[in-house]
Symmetry: D2
Subunit: 132 residues, 4 copies
Amino acid sequence: MRVWYRVIYGDTDCGGVMYYGNYLRLFEIGRTELLRSAGLTYRQIEEGRGLILPVVEVQVRYKAPARYDDLLAIETRLAEVRPHRVRFEYLVSSEEGRLLATGHTVHAPVNREGRLTRFPEDLLTALQKICR
Amino acid sequence: MRVWYRVIYGDTDCGGVMYYGNYLRLFEIGRTELLRSAGLTYRQIEEGRGLILPVVEVQVRYKAPARYDDLLAIETRLAEVRPHRVRFEYLVSSEEGRLLATGHTVHAPVNREGRLTRFPEDLLTALQKICR
Amino acid sequence: MRVWYRVIYGDTDCGGVMYYGNYLRLFEIGRTELLRSAGLTYRQIEEGRGLILPVVEVQVRYKAPARYDDLLAIETRLAEVRPHRVRFEYLVSSEEGRLLATGHTVHAPVNREGRLTRFPEDLLTALQKICR
Amino acid sequence: MRVWYRVIYGDTDCGGVMYYGNYLRLFEIGRTELLRSAGLTYRQIEEGRGLILPVVEVQVRYKAPARYDDLLAIETRLAEVRPHRVRFEYLVSSEEGRLLATGHTVHAPVNREGRLTRFPEDLLTALQKICR
């Protein structure tokens, strides 16, 4: 799924480009909107089921800089769904289609007691439907 | 009380200076360390007493820019303590003593139910000792 | 003018609400899009004219917290235009119309040498058209 | 080299822990202070030599959460120095020595024209001295 994001001053740094850490905000937007488009929200998952989905791993490869006021495309897909982890993959591109960054995040479900757990069956099924 | 802060890339923007919103991070550092120096921590206030101290007002006046790798002095004082609100005042200066920004925050105690409340007597007394 | 903003995890803090400093990001989005809707962009002003518009003052009053995944309305108006300063005013509300925060910023034009200057006549006229 | 960092409200998110993107701020602090301890500063490298050192890759593995007011140890080493790239490795631990996160960044020197280049000989030698 693709969402658009406009780079603000607050995203950039004195090198004139988007700060490298702020791509992780883009990734968050990407996966949140991908889940929402499938009828799932983090808020529901967390409040309704007492599950949180912390990031256990992130990787970013920076290909070309994003600059102030650029309109960026964030493309997100759910690349892997397993009972105890999911993996999202991201592409960030300029409005003209130039690839700026790629990355992935891995998330593991954790219960209210802070222990690693498995996705309940219905949620697992819902996630597998998004996965491709 | 004075604390020192080193400006990182992530604090700056493409204008080459510290992003205006990030001064509110400096203010947070200033008031946290002022309280700590008096033996009080936010964490204790919140966990021990079930009080939170949300900001109800902030003002900043920007006099001169802070730049990457500058070492900044944050001077904080507790300027006013009343049963239902406190006011902190801040000065941000360069290492050489040039004034970069001034500001204040006003905080009001809120209880676990999310209602405005008054500081308990002993905490009020402790805050008044810091106030000058 | 009104723009919408979805609160992400990265905007919130461990108090469960949007971090107070991040409202200044919302204000930036508000004034940028107000100018854009009038055919002006910061990037053009800066690159085309060699002017920057640093913030010299900001104030925020926090009325009620914004929470994760809330959809916020940012309403911005240009409240004052003078040759050497402009003032923007902001209202941040929940999707249901509850007022969450109000604020203003004051900006002063600075030239390439870093000196305070006046807006050129045509830009002043363009800004006055947006002002109401 | 080890530097200490105190987690502020502005670093955390509504999950009650440090936001995953903010570890990249910690990594920046770590490598900056490692270079400074060896007599090198980013500012000198950039202003004096016209080189910038953009991040081309970052990876983080999150082991355990960092919480508000935690005092974190950031340990950084320069793990690899080659003419056209350097690699830093990071360990973030709690005050008590519990490992919270590990990661690395890869940086490639870029000249004023925005092209990939090689480190000049003297800088390469200086970097190799830090590498272990």
